[in-house]
């Protein structure tokens, strides 16, 4: 395979044809934050958090889906990149409900982790939140689409890994939404014993229904007298 040499943050790095900027960076220990990207899934560049600066390119490019080319000069942590990433997280948080404190995903949420890593506080944008009713008809999966950030990890994992094609994205712009069939609440028998999408969801939008007695499994509170 052809060897391709690129310059990332001033140092010359080798990669082979077909590799993405992100892959080369990761191989060389350069940390680029990602959200919609997962090694198991095809990259689609939906969330834009992994953007980097490529000299000569009009816009910032998504590193997870942009293949390297001979002689590319890339900056992964320039001021412009850092500022853009921060704004992207702020925008994602702006339309996400502020209910982290009572969210079951609370401390496992990848969106929250990225926000903490980038030191993003309360977003300065005033955006309408999109509230949808919780879908808990299915015995196998619970959906709370108000928390969905449209990373499409569920859509991709369901079609690429589980091969069941339950989800698709419908509508347009601000109204975009992950739908099942004719935008019906999820209640599908194919979801039985699957659990693939719930594990891929970075936020609290997808989860398994609570089992009886689950809340007793946690550590006992120590109450001093």
């Amino acid at each position: 395979m052809d060897e391709i040499i690129v310059t990332i943050n001033g140092s010359q790095l080798r990669g082979s044809e077909g590799m993405t900027i992100l892959e080369v960076a990761q191989e060389n220990g350069i940390d680029i934050p990602t959200l919609c990207y997962k090694t198991e899934l095809k990259p689609i560049g939906a969330c834009r958090i992994c953007v980097v600066e490529v000299e000569g390119s009009r816009t910032l490019v998504g590193s997870c889906h942009t293949p390297i080319a001979q002689g590319m000069v890339i900056h992964t942590h320039s001021p412009k990149v850092l500022e853009t990433r921060k704004t992207i997280v702020e925008l994602l948080l702006a339309s996400h409900p502020d209910s982290c404190i009572i969210c079951d995903k609370g401390n496992m949420c990848e969106l929250r982790k990225i926000a903490a890593d980038m030191e993003v506080a309360l977003p300065p944008f005033k955006v309408r939140k999109r509230y949808y009713p919780i879908e808990d008809t299915s015995p196998y999966i619970v959906r709370d689409l108000s928390k969905c950030i449209l990373c499409r990890r569920c859509v991709r994992s369901c079609s690429e890994i589980a091969e069941k094609n339950v989800f698709a994205v419908a509508y347009r712009g601000f109204k975009s939404k992950v739908v099942v069939d004719f935008d019906e609440p999820i209640d599908k028998e194919v979801c039985r014993d699957c659990d693939v999408c719930t594990r891929f969801c970075p936020t609290g939008a997808l989860s398994k229904p609570r089992e009886v007695g689950e809340e007793k499994k946690g550590e006992a509170l120590f109450i001093s007298g």
Binding site: N165, V166, A168, A170, Y171, R172, V180, D181, D183
Partner: protein
């Protein structure tokens, strides 16, 4: 990309022209014949403003809400149409005469604000022109 995906948009337009809208039955049938998931087809059908998943009236009014029309105050046109026919964007009159929708650019930016009724374009709109245009509709 399989063949089904390539043909999908054309077939959706065809079904829309034939039945006036995309019913659940026709979407389900398309899904079966193209071997595509229903949700994928529903996604495409709801993305384009010229496709509809609900039954439409005899005259479909589509007012452009893209930037040039917005800057030429299409809101006043929207308000006028709302007042004339008594429904809001996204609705159909009970008698089935009018459906009212907002759409993205229809390519009449040089004569903004513009709207379409069925396949006819009306441009350089002013609130005064609206009632005459609507009266001509059957």
């Amino acid at each position: 990309m399989n063949n089904g995906q390539e043909e999908l948009l054309l077939l959706l337009q065809k079904a829309q022209n034939e039945f006036g809208y995309l019913s659940e039955e026709s979407v389900a049938e398309l899904a079966k014949s193209l071997a595509l998931p229903i949700s994928d087809i529903y996604g495409v059908a709801t993305f384009y403003s010229f496709l509809s998943t609900k039954p439409l009236g005899r005259n479909v009014i589509r007012i452009c809400k893209s930037m040039p029309c917005y800057l030429k105050n299409c809101q006043i046109i929207i308000d006028t149409v709302e007042k004339e026919i008594g429904i809001k964007p996204g609705e159909t009159t009970p008698d089935g005469k009018f459906s009212f929708q907002l759409t993205n650019c229809i390519g009449a930016c040089d004569k903004a604000p513009a709207m379409m009724i069925n396949s006819d374009v009306y441009d350089d709109l002013t609130p005064g022109k609206i009632s005459e245009i609507l009266k001509a509709c059957k």
